[in-house]
Symmetry: C2
Subunit: 387 residues, 2 copies
């Protein structure tokens, strides 16, 4: 089966709608001109409604989500600044590494898949002198949603800056940047926005921008203050040559978001992940995340424990042969879990396809004794989407 | 006139052929799979022939040329390492800033537009202890080609690493990375390769890669050693999510380079810039660069002095109204020069268009007394291209 006939059901990159792909076929324009500026303005305006902040707070970096994370950490912290890095998965670990590179890292590690314990966060903050808190909102490696509003409150209480990675949630889950007290929020183009990879959207509060002026060793290409200053000029631009074609794609992807409506889009994501969970649970497959009062299952990706005696990679491979690309666990979770993304332009039909094929694969692997069970559960979860 | 009807004759971004634009309409693939690896391999293989080095030496970063420059400087130098930064234009100045960020900069500044004085370079090297030399090969801000082979020899003589920016020359001028003793060469996708902006191709010698292991504070997203390690694995990949659509475009752009033939392509660039110079000189417009024995006019962009009493920006604007986008001078050169790019997929017809329109604009501005002079000179310079 050819690659371009495969259904991508990973937590990014996701299937990109033809409208978005074809937007990239537009000719080049000068990125120091009015046309580019107008496009940048539209991108800011729509995406600001997803971040729930002001349009001027949005900057776009030509680079992956990791580039945005580095820009956030490196532009807000001096080497002597203490950064509380909350880790309960692969991306939290990456944030911790970045924190150690630009600041003085104060690690707070939980088992991957476990929930963040707010008591332990407060203990670290009480111990004093934390400049910034770095956390992943939607830890896609384990499919858990971490408690952003609560961490925002703690950040406020202890006078810390709050840097939140919303790479795999913005566009598929509610983000209230201003209300939660997030100082910098970072996302990528290739997840719930359903654009191609290569751009990072970063929301920067005025307070954070002000503080960046005090940071002496900000990165160069990833200097977030430079991006913000260029993005708030009358002729909006980027400090370095932007990936113009990807801006075309992002503009079109955001127009689609606007047409669908943000609430509808988030609800679709919710019901699709619920359909995955309900149908998997119905056939005895357990969810991987360990929730507590303040965490939740991810709205955009689901992580299941591999059944006893079965390697998660086998499930992934068998499904791949049938034309559906899901993903496994990372690092020490490899083989132990398998993950299904429900991001971006994924449809209920894609979910039905994936669940029935997954059920068949589990049947052929001897995990379940018959097929035909998942349809009802998945359909029922998504019934509000059938209009 | 609408933006997408304008002819881009700047030193990047350039007109991108439809074949390349449409390549981006292909669906997403998993960037951790065989299809992506095969595409990356093809990109390495063709571009290595432009760098004149081994395919495995090529890495591709999702970011602009500046990102590639930062990756080069930051991955090869510790803070205490002395970097000789040769500056004779805007991009040399940028290299100097980057050098100061990651190492200890030893500046060597010439007037923008002047040639590099090899004697002064050797003086700095003799003073001792230079770890790396950073130079722009084709300084597009002033349209001069700097003496890369000679600097390579000096680097060898004094045991320094040689970092060469070939952003605006690779694909349009001869680059002999291995023969010249270049340790790291950096280019961008949106210049002579005629792909959209957003990727940086970096050639890294084995010697440089070995030395990078000793660098303690390499950038994170722009860690060149990480890119090289990922690019030389059997399953070729990038350390962070790549801009897959831009890889499609680059692959197609490089296929076009291969079809044209590298020698033919470089010759076309040479004859097109010669046509610009010959026709401008014929009507009394002076070239801006001050050449010496070791420098040359750029093979890919031409910089002209604004005629007495005329602002270079006026020429740019008047031509823009007529549908052709050229560019002016940067920083203190603004208004003093105007520049015409001849990069990538630019055709002799585009050059003829631009020269005759430019002549007309100069006529309307009162610089020349009649029109009709440039055609012969431009045609004659490019006669080998009319086959």
């Amino acid at each position: 089966m050819k690659a371009d006939e495969k259904l991508l059901m990973m937590p990014g990159p996701v299937v990109v709608p033809s409208r978005v792909l074809l937007a990239m076929a537009k000719p080049m324009i000068n990125h120091r001109g009015k046309e580019f500026s107008a496009m940048y303005g539209e991108i800011q305006s729509i995406s600001a409604q997803l971040f729930n902040t002001k349009a001027d707070n949005i900057s776009v970096i030509s680079g992956s989500g990791t580039a945005g994370m580095e820009a956030a950490i490196g532009s807000l912290n001096n080497k002597s600044d203490k950064i509380l890095a909350i880790e309960n998965g692969k991306f939290g670990q990456r944030f911790k590494k970045l924190a150690g590179k630009y600041g003085t890292v104060v690690p707070l590690e939980f088992e991957w898949g476990d929930s963040v314990d707010l008591g332990k966060v407060e203990e670290k903050l009480e111990a004093g002198d934390i400049k910034s808190i770095a956390m992943i909102h939607n830890e896609s490696s384990t499919a858990i949603r971490n408690p952003a509003p609560e961490i925002g409150k703690l950040a406020k209480k202890y006078g810390a800056y709050f840097i939140l990675d919303v790479v795999s949630s913005l566009g598929g889950d509610t983000i209230l940047m201003d209300e939660w007290g997030v100082d910098i929020a970072v996302t990528g183009s290739q997840k719930c926005l359903a654009a191609p990879p290569g751009l990072s959207l970063v929301g920067v509060s005025e307070k954070a921008a002000e503080e960046m002026k005090n940071i002496t060793n900000r990165p160069y290409y990833l200097d977030l203050l430079a991006y913000r200053n260029s993005a708030t000029k009358e002729l909006k631009e980027t400090p370095y040559t932007p990936a113009v074609s990807l801006f075309y794609a992002l503009q079109e992807a955001l127009r689609i978001v606007k047409e669908e409506g943000i609430e509808n889009r988030i609800n679709r994501h919710y019901l699709m992940t619920k359909a995955v969970r309900d149908s998997m649970t119905a056939i005895g497959i357990e969810m991987f995340p360990q929730l507590n009062k303040y965490s939740a299952y991810s709205n955009t990706v689901s992580a299941m424990k591999a059944p006893p005696g079965v390697d998660g990679e086998e499930i992934k491979k068998a499904l791949g042969k049938r034309g559906i690309v899901i993903t496994g666990g990372q690092d020490h979770l490899k083989g132990k879990i398998f993950r299904v993304g429900s991001m971006g332009s994924t449809t209920p039909l894609n979910i039905m396809n994936t669940m029935t094929e997954l059920e068949f694969v589990l049947f052929t692997l001897g995990v379940i004794e018959s097929t035909g069970a998942v349809d009802d559960f998945a359909s029922d979860a998504m019934k509000d989407l059938y209009v």
